[in-house]
Amino acid sequence: MSSWTPTAPRPAPSNTVGFVAWARANLFATKLDTALTLLAFTLVVYVVEAIFGWAIIDASFTGDDRTACLKEVQGACWPFIEAKFGQFIYGRYPDAERWRVDLVFLSGLIGLIPMLMPNVGFKRANMIYLLGFYPIFAFIMLNGGMLGLAMVDTTDWGGLLVTLVVAITGIVASLPLGILLALGRRSDLPIVRALCIGFIEIFRGVPLITVLFMASVMLPLFLPDGINFDKLVRCLIGVALFSSAYMAEVVRGGLQAIPKGQYEAAAALGLGYWKTTHLIILPQALKLVIPGIVNTFIGLFKDTTLVLIVGLFDLLGIVQLHFTDASWATPETHITGYVFAGAVFWLFCFAMSRYSIFMENHLSTDRTSS
């Protein structure tokens, strides 16, 4: 019997690898392909040139008022953003108290980052901090009026602060509410099930703006004369109710994916409904739908811009408000403001969507390996 040694592998022929081969396959494969490449290339060059020209080459970078942005060929008016930056982030929050907002941002990040990393432990303690301790702490810090902190009325809150408050409150409130609704939708009690289905279908079937109108205009009617709802609180309620209906559908997807065997095993161990749900079913279901939850949050984050229609000043609202400042009135002020707001929103949303993809991949490898 002979022994066999494999032939040594050779590198691929030079005309099949490397940049030239790649370009031939991906850019110039057929005549049509070449034509498309040239067309797309011209388009891309045109757009990039226009953007670059507007944002950098023809833009103004320093100045104190509108005269800085009245050049012959004018691009972006960045001094406008610089001058108003504080207001864009904090609204009319008093300068002296802004450290409180920064503290709230920071403590939020400290709690959030470990929560988002799947391999970091202490998740339960983390959750209690984020959902229990942090909201109370944030409220006290931002609102004031106790513990020696000056009171800052919610009408002075504005900009990115409001955007984040509405979005985060929305998601934090809608998660438990959504879970309850999803459980209720699967309940055996017909009244509970009907109410839950009704709630979910109604809030998913109507636009958010009608819910905000309803909250702004109708909530005061439900309360006795004299007691009035803070405008911000009204919006928070509307957003929370709206978002919980979507969250309920996301959680429902997770609940449906739990095999019947889990319920059976729990019953065999003598666990009742609530124990089964909160010890066995929910942890698995929620983990399954983390990408769905993040996607709901992305949608919610974008939807917070609607509060400007009912008179609250989120990031977009406050940027728009400052368009009326006569000392900055130039033809490019509007566009610069919108681009800035767009960029901030884009940054947040893009980061969140990347995280969602990361979690999806992590979860699928998790599942296939276990």
Partner: protein, 368 residues
Amino acid sequence: MLGALVLAMVWLVANVQSNLERQNINSGFGFLSERAGFGINQTLIEYSEDSSFARVLTVGLLNTLLVSVLGIGLATVLGFVLGVARLSSNWLVNKAAMVYVEIFRNVPLLLHIMFWYFGVLRNLPSPRKAVSLGDAVFLSNRGIVVPALEMTAAAWWYGAALAVSTTAYFWLRRRARLLRLADGTAQSIWRPVSMIAMASLAFAALLGGVPFSFDIPALKGFNFRGGITVIPEFVALLLALSLYTAAFIAEIVRAGIQSVSKGQREAAAALGLPDNTALRLVVIPQALRVIIPPLTSQYLNLTKNSSLAVAIAYPDIVSVFAGTTLTQVGQAVEIIFITMMIYLTLSLLTSFAMNRYNARIALVGQKS
């Protein structure tokens, strides 16, 4: 616990009643027949300040449907093109589509609307200095003015010609298909169809003359007379809705086509099917099953998102009814209830239709 809930509801209702009385707001739906007293700058049906609030509701609803249907059409076309581009083997086209999708869908829709309206359309010059395209289409900050089509009597002949050509097309197509099934002959129908079309067109031209005339807009004073004016609010809303939703549709289309496993394409290729036949008979039918449910969801979203019209005063249902009418009449409960009911009906109808369609095309068998 149920008792506590009932008590709470009774308390709430009592509050509502006393508050409404206090503010002198009526109840009931009688207000719908009262005179509206305000103008609307885009109406698809007859409307004047003397019309009733019920007519206001109808005008608003039609405007909502107009921008939604057109938006759905544009978004679908653009979305499918982008989705296919995302799967292209051409790297540049692929990445360019990806950049579009990632940028447009991560920016809030309201910002899109504001950008197009305040950032672009309002920055157009005034009508006197309007941008003109071929001296027939004019862009200004008062809107886009295009020539209006006015049909002459001759139009009937052309209508007939169109009818003849269409009938011929369908009949010939059916005949060709039956022929192919019967004995395998493949036959192109383009020649006979185009000949019939040209003949009937020539006939119509001979008998009727010119079928329509253009009412070309002309600048008179401060604005244009004649033609059709498309208000900037409509254009901004349509652009924003279409470009935004197209980004989502692109991802749905891409996922749908990718969901058809590679093996399907390989099997079709191994059977000798040419690429476009394989696409038509094997890939697309399977892809559509995956695409249509989330696509319908996006259509619904677009329709609900059209309510953002209120931010730029496009006269959709929220703007004119839950906005202006509510300020005038004050009956918030009834008005918001009606508005929500209308959107709810649209949603439920579409969901119902979609569920029916889904059940019908579900792949048969346990392993679908």
